[in-house]
């Protein structure tokens, strides 16, 4: 007998190539995404890409800016050897540094029929599930997009879409030095704090359990959850 196909359930999986860029300067990762996005628009390459990366310390601004949410002087930042980079993504000012896991999906949302709000919701879901892997109860917060533990932000999203192709993505604090976040109003919000998976585990009573904060561990969580949330085969 022929296999019965239930209408609507016959859905092909999409395919993405996962690349671990290691620790890479923000500008270089930005250039790479712009190049891949353009090559996808020009149909030179068909594959969707997921770039996994940690950045050296850097502040980045959204398309609409966010410099006004810097609470220290530029001179101070220069002395710390930290750049401020204008970008084309949504959202306001944010901070990247080693110890923060970043993933940039350069994928064809249009072709794969993934709506923008569903895409952002899915990226939040990936961070939420990754936090759950560490027994942390993280969730969305109506204050702002991203993922939160109570009133403390654990992970952020920011996206730019050109001709249906995404770039930029998510940033989840694993175990970074959080002090530089106090030099900005993250995402333009002044009444919030920032947290990390490491900080939450240090504060929790569930010590005694050894958690692996390595980027390899996080990478596996991201791959697993991206695959299930967006119905992708990742290679």
């Amino acid at each position: 007998m022929p296999e019965r196909i239930v209408p609507g359930s016959f859905k092909k999986k999409h395919l993405a190539i996962f690349q671990d860029l290691g620790v890479l300067e923000y500008k270089k990762a930005l250039e790479l995404q712009i190049r891949i996005q353009q090559e996808k628009i020009d149909k030179i390459i068909e594959e969707d890409y997921l770039f996994f990366v940690e950045h050296q310390c850097v502040f980045t601004l959204g398309r609409r800016g966010g410099k006004e949410n810097l609470t220290v002087s530029k001179k101070f930042l220069s002395a710390q050897n930290i750049d401020i980079i204008q970008t084309n993504r949504g959202g306001n000012i944010t901070y990247h540094c080693p110890g923060q896991a970043v993933m940039y999906p350069v994928i064809d949302l249009e072709k794969n029929k993934i709506g923008v709000k569903d895409f952002v919701y899915g990226l939040e879901e990936i961070m939420k599930l990754t936090a759950n892997d560490y027994d942390i109860n993280a969730d969305r917060n109506k204050k702002n997009n991203g993922i939160w533990v109570g009133n403390a932000k654990l992970g952020s999203v920011g996206i730019a879409i050109k001709r249906g192709i995404s770039m930029h993505g998510l940033a989840l604090n694993i175990n970074p030095d959080l002090e530089p976040f106090s030099w900005i109003n993250p995402c333009g919000l002044s009444d919030i704090s920032i947290t990390s998976i490491g900080k939450e585990k240090a504060q929790s009573k569930s010590m005694g359990k050894n958690y692996d904060f390595s980027m390899d561990r996080i990478k596996n969580s991201f791959i697993k959850h991206f695959s299930s949330v967006f119905d992708y085969i990742i290679r």
Binding site: K117, D118, G146, I161, G164
Partner: protein, 132 residues
């Protein structure tokens, strides 16, 4: 996201593959983003507009909409000169969600070549593209 059958796609408008709509009236084309676009973008918090007098080629990026931390570019259905922008969107970008074909219009354009307007998709062809 809305199902295709639930989309509000007026018969008297033209559409683009990038989900803009265009309407001709007295030689001027009014342009916005359609119900599919506003629905899949989510809550729009900012609309980046061009300036009156700017000129663009067909398919050029003329602005962007920001929703849920995502900036999406929007494109010219036809080549031409911007004759008017919807300044009301500066204070009320949510009009694009609430009324994408009326109060949420984005720009008005004096087209260079009317045949580009005629070649845009009608409702049926646009729906076929969405289904494809």
């Amino acid at each position: 996201m809305k199902e295709i059958n639930d989309l509000n796609l007026p018969e008297d408008l033209k559409y683009t593959k990038d989900h803009e709509w265009a309407k001709l009236s007295d030689g001027v084309i009014t342009i916005g983003i359609n119900d599919y676009a506003q629905d899949q973008l989510g809550e729009i918090v900012f609309v980046e507009l061009p300036e009156t007098g700017d000129t663009f080629e067909k398919d050029d990026e003329f602005g962007s909409v920001e929703s849920v931390k995502a900036v999406s570019e929007i494109y010219m259905p036809v080549a031409g000169e911007i004759t008017e922008i919807n300044e009301g969107l500066e204070d009320a970008p949510e009009l694009v969600n609430e009324s994408c074909y009326d109060d949420g219009w984005i720009i008005k354009v004096k087209p260079d070549d009317m045949s580009q307007f005629e070649a845009l998709l009608d409702k049926g062809a646009y729906i076929d593209m969405l289904k494809g």
